[in-house]
Amino acid sequence: MIYKIKKDLLKKYIDGLLEKYEVWGPKKIGNDTVFSKLKSGEEFIDARTLLGPKESIYPIKEKIGEMESKEIIVMGIKSCDLRAYRMLDDVLGIDEFYSSRRRNVHFLNFVCTEPCEYGFCSTFFGPRLDEYEMQFTDIGEYYIVESKNDKLIGRDFENATEDDLKILESKMRDFYNKMPPMNIENLHKKISWDDPRYREFSKRCISCGACNFACPTCFCFDTYDDDGLYREWDSCILSGFTRMAGNVNPRNTLDLRLRQRFMHKLRYHYENFSYYLCTGCGRCIEVCPVRIDIRDFIRGVGP
């Protein structure tokens, strides 16, 4: 069904959800906009955060065997992040802890109607998704709410009209005009093992791993013992990622690790799942201290 809700009633709607659920959403903490637990609907802002809410289904660190799962609502997630978690499902879905948590999280995604500075989502699937639970789009006075699960529809929702949908369509046309998709036809076949840019990047890259940390699709984790077994997000850019006992390291130089990052996202994952492991969210570009830009990389991939 397609509904709409008046923008100023959104707070009330969130307050209603908070009576029954834990709700996460973007809010201001100091000068920063971050994804966090909401205390009231008043706190919610429709904004893109530097880090997505990946932790809602995949905590940075957790003790193996003692993972919790509870029903929560993630409100205001951007479509790029939600699409990313559909990708994580294909890899982590066989993990009992990930999947039990995943089943318990309701994602209510908010569609961007203006391109963000670093984003290039139009290259992959754009700001509006086909797969969602409830999808909100700002059309001025109202949010259009596309719903595939009416369980969370509130009292203040009205039916959307033909005219509302026309506004939605024109907003999307505008978006695509402002963010024209890049050509990625056969990118997975064109990207090469011996692209000289891996070495060029390695001269600038400081191996900080921020690209992995900010990426909503990066799923790699490490395990280690610290009075019990833990798992924690890991980064393929770090030298220890592939290092084995006796100092044997198949990717002992940074250019090989940068190659892994680009090849995994734009080739290996495509070969295994028929889509790129990238949503065009632009966060790796935004957080990179030396301005390694995956958009430039994609544009420069050979003929």
Binding site: D194, T223, L229, D234, H269
Partner: protein
């Protein structure tokens, strides 16, 4: 279901194989029995988890472990009766034994080869050959078992460096490739990458088809079932698509022999 949670198991016995290799016989309280060439994640409390190939599973799960790093060092300090965590079995294992098969094992690559030889001997096949290279005579593991196997299959041993008592071949494992009985065999290579690399080169010179060569690869397999992302070689994960790969499948990936 494949799980990240280790199951407790007791060490039934510990055998000193060489100066730096010990074998650990563990209670098998897991649901699934292994196949030759598969591996387990062994958890040493207070140290961490490591992937180790199964060597044998007649009276429990037998793992032969070389002391090379932090966790193996700690494992070597464990005794009969101590508790370990274990998960598995993981990976695809060796290909089916369908015709004469030559196992080429280097160093600590012999324990996985043992899982294959024992399994197929127990099924009545003697259609195998073992070429085993160790660093020195004192690094040879499973001496008694090697002797026993030589009653059934063709076994050749070489050492990189001999000593006063050593009467056998001296040289890397490729120096005994003239012993290979049949070039139309399946070839299973298990050992350090440099040894696998030169073995493949020599086999190709002998006219062996790339489709008949299998490599048992080693990477940092942390989860064991394809979710943690640490052990990929190109699009393949060693833990779930391997550890055993047909050479022709992975030969064009530059990371194979790093």
């Amino acid at each position: 279901m494949k799980s990240m949670v280790p199951v407790n198991t007791r060490i039934i016995d510990v055998f000193e194989e060489t100066n730096d290799v010990k074998s650990f016989l563990l209670e098998n309280n897991l649901d699934e029995d292994p196949l030759p060439g598969q591996f387990y994640e062994i958890y040493v409390r207070g140290a961490g988890e490591i992937p180790i190939s199964i060597a044998s599973w007649r009276d429990g799960l037998l793992f032969s472990v070389k002391r090379v790093g932090y966790v193996t060092e700690r494992l070597h300090g464990m005794k009969k009766g101590d508790i370990l965590g274990i998960r598995g079995p993981f990976g695809n294992g060796f290909p089916e034994h369908r015709r004469h098969t030559v196992l080429i094992a280097g160093g600590i690559g012999l324990p996985p080869a043992r899982s294959y030889i024992e399994y197929w001997l127990s099924k009545g096949s003697r259609n195998m050959q073992l070429l085993y290279g160790a660093r020195t005579p004192s690094d040879i593991v499973y001496r008694r078992i090697l002797q026993e196997w030589s009653n059934y299959i063709d076994v050749h041993i070489t050492v990189d460096k001999g000593d006063k008592e050593w009467k056998g071949n001296v040289g890397v494992v490729t120096t005994i490739f003239h012993r290979i009985k049949d070039r139309e065999s399946d070839f299973i290579i298990i050992g350090p990458e440099i040894m696998m690399k030169f073995s493949v080169m020599e086999l190709k010179k002998l006219g062996v088809s790339e489709d008949n060569i299998y490599l048992s690869m080693e990477r940092k397999m942390k989860c064991g079932f394809g979710i943690c992302g640490h052990c990929n070689i190109g699009r393949y994960y060693v833990c779930k698509d391997g550890p055993v790969f047909k050479y022709s499948l992975i030969k064009d990936i530059p990371e194979v022999f790093h």
